[in-house]
């Protein structure tokens, strides 16, 4: 039985039981390699498949999943989802979409074929590790890897929708431990591409080395308030940490601090944020969401004003609006909402303006998962980077913390750069933003 016939059998069984449903089938193949001391340390291959079912019967929602694809396991999954639904509260707003037809992404664009042999991939990771390990003061390269993965998502509904997204992602990265007397530092770099031959290990080695050398002799700066500019990686991390501020789901649940602020000015007027799911350069590209709704660009904050929250069909129905195409559901999870690719409009500030005077350039943050509270906006992170003046790095900085309230920080934007950058994972496209007056402890 293939995926299509399994999906048809599952959804037929759902309908026979007097319910409606949608089915997510995720499939993946992946290769990953790691090197150590000039030898291949780990070679991993995998193939996986998982079915995740959501059923709705008499306005009760239940979910179940299975990694086994035999008939008995899949029938059991249907029955278990229906049993689970009997315990759930009435969800009058949650329905299976009535959309029919098919949505299919372009394989040539998103999942190009691989022309690089396994031997060349092994040589790539050995060269990356070896060249970085050979650099001055580098003790070893404890974290290094390359991966080449293909993921495919299918969404089938009992109404007859069949949607398919298939993407390839190749990633390489290396982190070095650098030691100089009693000073040490660990830092690194990485790259991602849709085809392996678009990766170049020398860029990774050079950047990883420069990041280590730059921070090796870092010291804390005095405790006071500074202007901050995050590098392109960690600016995305910070915005992503608080992305639930746009969630219609947390608003429906009563825990989104922005739920009553639609139409209000919530940030500096120079800030405009949107979601751009159809930018094909990004790995967050999405032709459709997890309910099968076709996606579109969605303005979130325009000129500082909160334009909309993001919705799936259920949260949209709750608030009496239309879905924005931001449903998110994995095979093992219930229906939620999520951004696809956050985009911040570039500003008008030249590098000379953006990087004028004294500021801290933050190139590393730690504790993002534990040091932030998206409900209150409070955060406190470990940090490292550089004290800069007029664009020049005048002191490497380590062992400091940055702390504040993210929602207050959005109102303290003093400059926005005039150039856009993707982060490594190409999940967001943003200019540099300068935040003023942030508490730093050293």
């Amino acid at each position: 039985m293939n995926v299509e016939s399994n999906a048809a059998a599952i959804l037929d069984r759902v309908k026979e039981k007097g319910a409606e449903g949608d089915l997510i089938v995720d499939e993946g193949q992946a290769l990953s390699l790691k090197a150590r001391d000039g030898e291949l340390e780990e070679h991993k291959v995998s193939s996986s498949q998982i079915y995740g079912l959501r059923v709705i019967k008499d306005a009760h929602v239940g979910t179940a999943y299975s990694e086994a694809a035999d008939e008995q396991a899949l029938n059991s999954m249907v029955d278990q989802a229906l049993i689970n639904a009997t315990f759930a509260k009435v969800e009058a707003d949650e329905k299976i979409l009535t959309t029919t037809g098919s949505l299919v992404t372009d394989d040539a664009l998103l999942c190009p074929s691989d022309e690089v042999s396994i031997e060349n991939k092994i040589q790539f990771v050995l060269d990356m590790e070896g060249n970085l390990a050979a650099k001055d003061k580098v003790q070893n390269v404890p974290h290094n890897s390359i991966s080449d993965s293909i993921v495919q998502r299918r969404v089938f509904t009992s109404s007859g929708l069949d949607a398919r997204l298939k993407q390839r992602m190749c990633v390489a990265g290396a982190y070095a431990l650098m030691v100089d007397g009693d000073k040490n530092v660990m830092d690194g770099s990485g790259r991602a591409a849709r085809q392996f031959d678009q990766l170049n290990y020398t860029d990774i080695v050079d950047e990883a080395y420069e990041r280590c050398v730059g921070l090796l002799h870092g010291e804390p700066v005095p405790t006071k308030h500074y202007d901050l500019i995050f590098d392109k990686e960690f600016q995305v991390e910070v915005f992503s940490t608080f992305a639930s501020m746009f969630s219609g789901k947390t608003a429906k649940d009563g825990v989104n601090p922005m739920r009553d602020k639609l139409g209000d000015i919530i940030s500096d007027p120079c800030l405009s944020i949107s979601d751009q799911p159809l930018l094909t350069d990004g790995f967050g590209y999405a032709l459709f969401d997890s309910e099968g709704t076709a996606t579109r660009a969605t303005p979130l904050i325009t000129g500082g004003r909160l334009e909309t929250l993001i919705h799936n069909s259920a949260t949209a129905a709750h608030f009496g609006v239309s879905t924005t195409g931001h449903a998110i559901r994995g095979p093992k999870s219930t229906l939620g909402v999520s951004l696809h690719q956050m985009h911040i409009d570039k500003g008008s500030d030249s590098p000379a303006t953006l990087f004028s005077g004294e500021y801290l350039l933050i190139t590393d943050l730690s504790g993002l998962h534990s040091g932030a509270n998206p409900i209150s906006g409070q955060f406190s992170f470990g940090a490292a980077g550089y004290l800069c003046r007029d664009g020049e790095r005048i002191q490497p900085v380590r062992n400091i913390t940055v702390a504040g309230n993210f929602y207050d920080m959005l109102k303290k934007v003093s400059a926005i750069g005039d150039e856009l950058f993707w982060n490594l994972e190409r999940s967001a496209y943003m200019p540099h933003i300068r935040f003023s007056d942030v508490a730093v402890s050293g």
Partner: protein, 461 residues
Amino acid sequence: MLESKIADSVVDHALSLGADFAELFVDRNQVNNIATLSNEVQSVQSGIDFGVGIRLVYGYKVLYGYTNKMDLDELRRIVSELSAKDLRDPINQMLAFDYRKPEEYHPASDILSLDACIDGKVAYLLAADKTARAASNMISQTRGSCMQREQSIEIFNSEGLHTDDKRNYIRTSLTAYASDGGEQATGSWNDGGLRGWEIRSDISAAETGSEAARQALVNLSAKACPSGRMPVVLGNGFGGVIFHEACGHLLETTSVAKKASVFHDQMGEMIANPVVSAVDDGTIANEWGSINIDDEGLETQNTQLIKDGKLTNFLSDRLGAQQTGYERTGSGRRQSYHFAPASRMRNTFIEPGEDELDDMIASIDKGIYASHLGGGSVQPGTGEFNFAVQEGYYVENGKIQYPVKAATLISTGPAVLKEISMIGKDFSLACGMCGSVSGAVPTTVGQASLKVDDILVGGNA
């Protein structure tokens, strides 16, 4: 779960292709999750994860693959694909499987495969919600969850090992949200264990609800936290995350073997204040981070890591032992068949001391009492770590003054271990999830309250 003759054929095939060692890890997880929002059931989810991980070792090189399919052809295909670049004449001969049933140290009765007990769990979560919301009209919302999991594992390897085990996990939690109309704050509490829903008789919905509400209300009234270097008293239980991050990860041979731990060459040396003795114990009955056998089939152990300040042991898995020469400690763990095993912590804690919490606070001129800690992370190569204060108070002239908002504490492992000057008697354990190279595994942290003389507090006052 996997027929022995299939396992035999796959392992034999791997050795015939020149592998030094071959292992099959068969993994079946049955899962049930219940989520409540306020006084309603938001969702009930269930599912089964099932697959086989295949590990081949050539020297120090690990080849790893996994699949959801259990048939002989698929398993042999993965072995052939993995070893294609390492083919050589056979080195070792496979030993016949000798099945050994591990001792059961963690009995469970109300297990998932018998009954998910959904009604009872829902009643518990709704009772906790009721208590939380009764605490104050400023408690605006609660989220509850109950996760139950039954993991069945079976391991075969080329040295003749054939064993299996079942692990029953249960975890409940409640998060309370407090709001005064403008500000919002949260508080949470959770319980868990390596056992079934019979944990119900040892936990209290009322205590869970009132504790989550109390924390949320304290945090709602908190002021900005002072910044800078100062003494900090860390509360008991989850306060033990400081040792987990500052030291535990640095003692795993996963980092030690690569010399990516600042402690890799300090065995037998004083790495902590002499008041510090620490343990990683996988044997505590029904504790969240316990196991009968590790994910390489070795019976787990109680491992003394630090004794009176001196480093006495690393945590070692099979490959780590091979690479470092330190004996295996039954610490080879992995989240699932998706991961090769690595040396990981189990129940890790600093042993209790003789000091009183009141004396620790009284000894502070200006500092913080962090009564509840959140999560954290560490960079093993440099020892730099961070963890979050979930509930804290400013202390001045030896007295608690007022609650402070969330702050991060940062330092390095070697530095902070020497700054621990007082350890209390109020020892307790708390459960969490630890993420690392072999995925997220259940781990317990623990300690009595303790005083760190000097650490950087990242406040925003």
